[in-house]
């Protein structure tokens, strides 16, 4: 961390990583503010990771705690994996936002407040007895009190706008301050304003003025004694875009459909946090994507089975409660051995739980939530960008092995974002598989000796007319069969088919120590926190490795070997130990869990601390 001096007076401090959280009322445009800062930081070349924090209510009363909306961005000159445990800077637009977020700001952290919003009325709304700005309760932070509304209004003076309209632009004033504070160009945002409001010159001008006024405020006033520089990161060369998990999921399946040469069918029923996938895909009709909003999750699943039966790349998406409803129909897909992918964007349960919050509670439901022996492959993306790759992988497994595949995302991945190196289409795997056409050789339940996949004969194929269904099938012929030995054989065959996929997936690789004291084993969205914690532990010279399973059923063939190379195994999960149970049952390894079920992602520090305790034998 060096300190140089810039042309104008203020010293510049160079930092490796900064985390900013913008918080305000739902109406204050915090999401937009955060996104603009993100674009700018990304374009500048920082590595970034962001996470929005919407209120559960649609529109809670203005100024109320439930109405608080936030956006956190972490940007860095090195490779980062999470939006940061705690903000270094908190920008609070009103008392509610301050109250809801201040606890996360570490002592010494910077707090920028819009003093204009700290009226008696607003303080009362969130039952602040006295104003935190005056009662000394913020003494352990470096507080910057700025009358943002007033200053902004003054800047827009003379424009033909209502006071309400004027007030709506104050977020750009705050954004301007942050741009100045972190030496960012206003260009990208100014361009955005032009594109967005070009046709409404007054609004455009207002936003421009607000932004510039904020920037100028930083430059001219004395209140900031320094400002900061976070140099560009050294990301692998290529073209990048910022992407959320839900976006990457949608794109991934469109890509899979193109590479499979089959139209994508998406049958779904809206549910938080999966709905955006439906919204996104319904915009890709020119790719031949057929989206169907069903009357419920059962119908969504049924329609997906129908589309798969017809030869499409069939997909359904939901969240936990919806997955529960689909379970009977999923079993029909297992019995009929038709290829499709079931996306579950996990949220906090049980039951309705906390719909907007994240959790990893559906792993065992995915594996076992159906009557009888019903094996299904399960994959789980580790980061927002990874959602793209695993969408292709899930499709590959479904089509190659003629099986429904579970794809476990979660609320954190869904709306979290990170830079994604855009792949070129020809680098994507081809997912082409042939339909059955030959009358001579076709048998509905004859299997490929390699994959054990049955033949896929779609309606419309002359001469291959046949019947399938949910009653047990006779091996080869596929006729209804109540024969005891046949049922046993078919049960083992369905199981062997899924287990066999282990020969067709990459080995589990380990980051950091390849053997030694402690292996931290994770799955899904905990990747970032675990990896960061392990990097820190490595830097501290600890003998720690990180392995992250993206294929959970079947597990990579070398999983057992990897586990046995370490003295201790820690499995952090946002549940009460679901992967942990599988690992212990399968490998009889005395792995221990670390469980947080708070509807929030792990903090790096939590995992770091737990690992230290274990290493210290505590």
């Amino acid at each position: 961390m060096t300190t140089t001096t810039k042309p104008h007076e203020l010293p510049v401090q160079e930092l490796e990583r900064v985390t900013i959280r913008f918080v305000g009322d739902s109406g204050d445009g915090m999401q937009l503010t955060g996104t603009q800062f993100t674009r700018t930081a990304a374009a500048f070349g920082n590595d970034i990771s962001t996470f929005p924090d919407y209120p559960a209510e649609i529109r809670a009363p203005a100024g109320s705690l439930p109405g608080v909306s936030g956006f956190q961005i972490s940007f860095s000159s090195s490779d980062i994996h999470t939006p940061g445990d705690q903000p270094d800077v908190l920008v609070a637009m009103n008392p509610a936002a301050l109250k809801a977020n201040i606890a996360d700001l570490p002592a010494g952290g910077a707090l920028i407040v819009n003093t204009d919003a700290f009226t008696a009325a607003n303080l009362a709304k969130v039952s602040y007895a006295s104003s935190p700005l005056t009662d000394g309760s913020l003494s352990k932070y470096s507080v910057f009190e700025i009358p943002i509304s007033t200053l902004n209004a003054r800047a827009l003076d003379g424009l033909d706008m209502t006071t309400k309209q004027v007030d709506l632009t104050k977020n750009f004033f705050a954004l301007g301050i942050m741009f100045w504070l972190y030496e960012r160009s206003m260009e990208p945002t100014l361009r955005w304003i032009e594109d967005k409001f070009g046709k409404r010159p007054v609004i455009a001008e207002a936003n421009r003025r607000a932004l510039k006024a904020g920037y100028a405020f930083g430059e001219t006033t004395e209140i900031f004694h320094t400002h900061y520089r976070v140099p560009a990161a050294h990301l692998p060369p290529g073209k990048y875009r910022n992407i959320t998990g839900n976006e990457a999921t949608a794109l991934g399946f469109v890509a899979a459909s193109v590479r499979a040469g089959r139209p994508l069918f998406y049958g779904s029923y809206p549910i938080t946090p999966a709905s955006d996938i439906l919204h996104q895909l319904s915009g890709y009709k020119n790719f031949g994507v057929r989206t169907f909003q069903a009357e419920d999750e059962i119908a969504a699943m049924g329609s997906t089975i129908g589309a798969a039966y017809g030869g499409a790349l069939a997909l359904t998406g939901t969240s936990g409660p919806g997955l529960a409803l689909k379970s009977e129909a999923i079993n029909l897909a297992v019995m009929t051995e038709l290829p499709m992918v079931i996306v579950d964007v996990q949220r906090a349960g049980p039951s309705t739980g906390m719909p907007t919050k994240t959790e990893q509670g559906d792993l065992l439901q995915s594996l076992f939530g159906r009557n009888g022996e019903s094996p299904i492959p399960v994959v789980a993306p580790a980061t927002p960008a990874d959602c793209f790759d695993l969408a292709l992988e899930a499709s590959r497994i479904a089509l190659t092995y003629m099986t429904p595949v579970m794809y476990l995302s979660d609320a954190f991945l869904a709306s979290g974002a990170e830079p994604w190196r855009v792949p070129s289409v020809e680098d994507l795997p081809s997912l082409r598989v042939e339909n059955a056409t030959d009358r001579a050789t076709f048998r509905p339940y004859a299997r490929d000796p390699e994959t054990l996949a049955r033949m896929w004969a779609v309606p419309g194929t002359p001469g291959l007319e046949h019947r399938i269904g949910g009653i047990e099938k006779a091996d080869i012929s596929g006729n209804v069969s109540y024969d005891p030995d046949n049922h046993h054989r078919m049960t083992l065959l369905r199981n062997a088919k899924v287990a066999g996929i282990a020969n067709d997936i990459p080995d589990l690789d380990v980051y950091g120590a390849q053997d030694g004291e402690l292996l931290i084993l994770g799955w899904g969205s905990t990747y970032g926190a675990i990896r960061s914690a392990v990097e820190r532990l490595r830097a501290e010279g600890q003998s720690v490795g990180h392995a992250h399973v993206r294929h959970i059923n079947p597990l990579p063939r070398n999983t057992g070997d990897v586990l046995r190379r370490f003295r201790r195994v820690l499995v952090p999960e946002l549940n009460l130990g679901q992967l942990l149970m599988l690992i212990r049952a399968t490998y009889l390894v005395d792995a221990q869990g670390y469980q947080r079920v708070r509807g929030k992602p792990f903090r790096i520090a939590e995992i770091h601390e737990r690992a230290e305790q274990i290493l210290a034998g505590r």
Binding site: A43, G45, L235, P236, P237, G238, K239, Y240, R241, N242, L251, V254, A255, V258, P263, F265, Y284, K285, N286, F287, G288, R290, F292, A294, E295, D296, I298, A299, M301, G302, S303, I305, G306, A307, A308, Y309, G310, G311, A314, A329, L332, T336, V422, S424, V425, V458, P459, G460, T461, P462, G463, E465, H466, R467, I468, G469, G470, I471, N479, V480
Partner: protein
């Protein structure tokens, strides 16, 4: 043929037109109780198929669970014996992604109206182009005799030893209220009428709902006998014919007349002529006549059979395909490379 132009002529299509009933019988041994009404429904279904001139590989039968659900095994077409109540959802997904296929849904009174009622409703209102044949035996057959949503109130069954307490639903009233574009009723034993009704349904564009009064001689024998029996069916059933006055009776001497909003049975003669009678109009934009007919029941009225309602509305698959076509026209066929690179991007050297 014009009725089903979206069906592509398959290689052996010249042959198709020459298909016969036998071509539609599969090699599977039929497994219903001797005497079951389902045999006749199967026979008429197989007999009707050649009429459509659709290659048999382009025909799919999808059923739920129930005795009726076995029917697809016996059709030498593509077939899917799915799960209880969900056949319409599978048919919807199939039809949406493969508009050129002719899709039939075979269901029972429990499968369609108890566990599956909501799916039926939504498939109908969306005018999904599927032909739904509901075998109505007013009982749960496969599970050995519990009450169904069409069982008459007070019926003693395994699950209602002291009689059911539930008002039954009128399947055709539900279908009409669900905005179905084709609604008809026939009887298992009235074979010609049954075949004709299937044919009408098959040629209809959009959701067709056909209720077949079926006898379960094991668990609900004679459920419909009162008005379907040969001896008195002319007097107790009203055979609907589009554009014709509503006349019935062995001697064609009775009719239905409208008094205000109330249909009444009248004796023709002394002053009352056919001109005084209601004239059937299956294509009426208003569903009022169809709804009225859906509720007329023996002994107060003769039970109407035939097509109650038959209107045109764009089908679900057609509308979906049109939107895709117009999006392609508007934005050009999807370019994956472009899509992946869309939005805000930046380059790292």
């Amino acid at each position: 043929m014009t009725e089903l132009t979206q069906v592509p002529l398959s290689p052996e299509n010249e042959a198709v037109i020459k298909l016969t009933r036998k071509d539609f019988a599969s090699d599977q041994e039929v497994r219903w109780c001797p005497g079951c009404g389902d045999y006749s429904i199967l026979a008429q279904t197989q007999k009707t198929m050649p009429e459509f001139g659709v290659p048999k590989e382009n025909i799919v039968f999808i059923s739920g669970i129930g005795c009726s659900g076995r029917l697809p095994y016996y059709m030498n077409t593509y077939g899917f014996h799915s799960i209880h109540g969900r056949a319409p959802t599978i048919a919807t997904g199939l039809k949406a992604s493969r508009p050129e296929l002719m899709v039939w849904v075979i269901t029972g009174d429990g499968d369609a109206l108890s566990i599956g009622g909501n799916h039926l409703l939504h498939a109908m209102r969306k005018n999904v182009d599927i032909k739904v044949v509901m075998h109505n035996n007013r009982i749960y057959g496969l599970t050995k005799g519990q009450a169904s949503p069409t069982s008459e109130i007070g019926k003693v069954t395994k699950s209602s030893p002291t009689g059911t307490i539930d008002q039954p639903v009128m399947p055709l009233s539900i279908a009409i209220a669900a905005e179905a574009t084709f609604v008809a009723r026939s009887v298992d034993t009235h074979t010609e009428h049954l075949a004709k009704t299937f044919e009408r349904a098959g040629f209809h564009h959009g959701s067709a709902f056909v209720e077949v009064l079926q006898n379960c001689n094991i668990f609900n024998d004679g459920a419909w006998r009162d008005f379907t029996d040969r001896e008195f069916r002319e007097d107790r059933m009203l055979v609907l014919e589009h554009g014709k006055p509503m006349v019935f009776g062995k001697d064609r001497d009775k009719g239905i007349r409208l008094r205000g909003l109330h249909p009444e049975v009248v004796q023709l003669g002394d002053g009352i002529t056919e001109d005084d009678l209601l004239v059937h109009d299956e294509t009426a934009p208003d569903p009022y006549l169809a709804y009225m007919l859906s509720r007329m029941w023996w002994p107060e009225y003769p039970v109407p059979v035939g097509v109650l309602r038959n209107i045109e509305r764009p089908t679900h698959d057609r509308l979906m395909s049109d939107q895709i076509a117009s999006e392609i026209a508007r934005r050009g066929p999807g370019d994956l490379e472009k899509l992946l690179n869309s939005g805000e991007t930046w380059v790292v050297e």
